[in-house]
Symmetry: C2
Subunit: 395 residues, 2 copies
């Protein structure tokens, strides 16, 4: 495949600057990068020849020499893919990581990786064709799974049965003919928040991702912390109790077995059948099944049984967070992926546990909040950010 990308560290810096701050004048860029004018022009020309940057018209005059604006090239298009919570989401972003087009459809991950990856190729191909492109600049896939980033494969993923060590990266790269990388979904969400959301002002924060699978992304010192084998933040299968409910992973009492969407639905069905909630019982009778959205709606409407379910899950999650917060001492904790409307009940309970049990130094002024961006949007922006970091690096 034809590789594009910066050839020098200065070219890489220029690209990231234009990605993060938008179009800027050549005069300003010379200042910011601290390069001699002729050298800057040569570097910009090299990038323009590859279509990675382009002139965007004259810059507003600052009273001196006229300058022109530079921006990331219009041919730069990143693909972002998110699998999870029963949906396959595919988006294209421009070079500043703004989502341009997006497809969101149901998917059954139990069909296996070949089917889901095959469908991903089709959807990316569709978006690429609509954009009139022959090739994407790069693609990043976010999976609800521990991912060995080095080879782009999921490792023993409880939420993706049958996907263990499937070559997601290499399969997609072969089909798409562009750089492809694979990551954990909570990592992508954390980075999306860091790039464009609530996390943006903070160097150290935790992003907890709720949903079918529970995970956590750590931004430490301004960067995503992946750990020694890219397994950091893998909190869904920590054991809360020895004799707790059976988890999809085969163990008992995991965080996910208490706080995951499936656990909430399971408890809601039990409550409905036991006559503890008229609202849930009526909903179950009407549709034959409950979803986490039903539980959230019941809790938001004031149904005591549904509220108790949510509070119990939140309390368990809070117990996990106490340890993590004391351990890494973040500036803020962001709770993403909660079902619609459920946030306030969830946050109240989590805050109660964390503030009561944590050390004063760690949580004296630490907010626990819902994010600005919904979780899928954060994941797609974060995935685009990750692949752009990769592509906007010296070869």
């Amino acid at each position: 495949m034809t590789m594009v990308g910066p050839e020098t560290a200065d070219q890489a810096r220029l690209l990231r600057l234009l990605r993060d701050d938008g179009p800027r004048s050549r005069v300003e860029l010379v200042d910011v990068l601290g390069l001699p004018r002729a050298r800057f022009a040569a570097e910009a020309d090299r990038l323009a020849a590859q279509g990675l940057v382009e002139t965007a018209g004259p810059a507003a005059s600052r009273g001196g020499r006229r300058s022109s604006l530079l921006r990331v090239g219009a041919q730069v298009r990143f693909g972002a893919v998110l699998v999870g919570d029963g949906r396959l989401r595919v988006a294209l972003t421009d070079g500043e990581l703004n989502p341009l087009t997006r497809i969101d459809e149901p998917v059954d991950v139990r069909l296996g990786p070949e089917a889901v990856v095959g469908r991903t190729v089709e959807l990316l191909g569709k978006l690429r064709a609509e954009a009139g492109l022959t090739r994407l600049t790069g693609v990043r896939v976010a999976l609800p799974a521990p991912v060995a980033v080095s080879d782009g494969t999921p490792v023993s993923p409880p939420a993706l049965p049958g996907w263990h060590r499937f070559p997601v990266r290499d399969t997609l790269a072969a089909e798409l003919g562009c750089p492809v990388h694979v990551d954990n979904d909570a990592n992508a969400m954390a980075l999306g928040e860091s790039h464009a959301g609530t996390g943006r002002p903070f160097d150290d924060f935790l992003y907890v991702k709720l949903g079918d699978a529970i995970g956590c992304g750590l931004v430490l010192g301004g960067s995503l912390h992946r750990g020694a084998t890219s397994g950091a933040g893998d909190i869904g299968h920590l054991q809360l109790t020895e004799d707790g409910p059976l988890c999809a992973c085969g163990n008992t009492g995991c965080v996910e077995a208490y706080c995951g969407d499936a656990a909430l639905v399971r408890e809601a069905v039990t409550a409905a059948r036991a006559g503890r909630s008229t609202v849930l019982a009526e909903r179950l009778a009407a549709t034959g099944a409950l979803t986490v959205v039903d539980v959230a709606a019941a809790a938001t409407a004031g149904d005591p049984a549904a509220q108790t379910l949510v509070r119990d899950a939140a309390r368990r999650l809070g117990q996990v967070l106490v340890g993590l917060v004391s351990f890494v001492n973040p500036a803020i904790v962001i709770i993403g992926g909660a079902a619609p409307g459920i946030g306030p009940v969830l946050l109240a309970e989590i805050r109660g546990v964390v503030y009561r049990r944590s050390t004063p130094l760690a949580t004296g002024s630490m907010p626990i909040v819902l994010p600005d961006l919904d979780a899928p949007t954060a994941a797609l922006i974060g995935a685009a950010r990750l692949i752009s970091d990769q592509v906007f690096t010296t070869r």
Copy 2:
């Protein structure tokens, strides 16, 4: 006070290089720093004028021009102080952080910070006078406490009753007339291990510190991770059970209330009095009290009751580590501060819990080991490293 220190980023780099790698020839240093020869000579001269570097004789010939060796100046002496486990330890190191002289004496921290800080000033004065110096280059104090690094005060420290917000840094700085900083002891130990011990090859590791107070230092991405308010690693007062033993902090069921030295001694006395251990009962009868060294000796000698105590504590600690290891995914976990001889029993149990319960991606190849350096030595080297980082920074 007269401040010494580098004036440019290149001077700071040169000092850190000489500190970490020892004496090097001027020719080599010009290469490594990538500076023009004349510029290098000027920077080195500025440092030599302050006594921060000096010539150490001719370098071994490499066949080209003769060169001379440069090293950190002989007047550079760092003071390192460690309070904890009933001891006050004070050391001087040279500019390469080699400990030169050391005093180790009993201390009762309940006498309060004035008394302990006053004694620290006396001991540092003694070592300084013996070394024929009028002034130390800098001093770092390691305390078994959460420390607000910004102002050098302990914050609500359960192991140091009466020390809350005492101005340790400012009191010492006024007395000693040199830069002083204060830190958590586990942080210093982690950095000592990173500089000169088992942690040296690893960018991401956890250092767990056992003893009266239990703490943890995190080295992530090659640097000490302090968190948003320098509270990272504060694991001693995480709650393991709601109804566990009372802790010194006033809560119940803390890690320290199960795994701290006082907890081991408390359980050992109970076992001795209940007739469950002849070895411990005889020791208690002979001396009127037990220490953690007695418990360790009994366990090492094969006493079943003592071994059970150690295993129970190790299992509890392992349960905490499962979460932390999954969360930050370190390359290695170092367990420091264990009583003499107790290591193998402790490690076997901790490994059992962590390897059984953690996710495969996080612990597939993660060693859990005892450190090369004993905990006080690691703390003193780490404290010297921290103050040298501070002094060897551009003013």
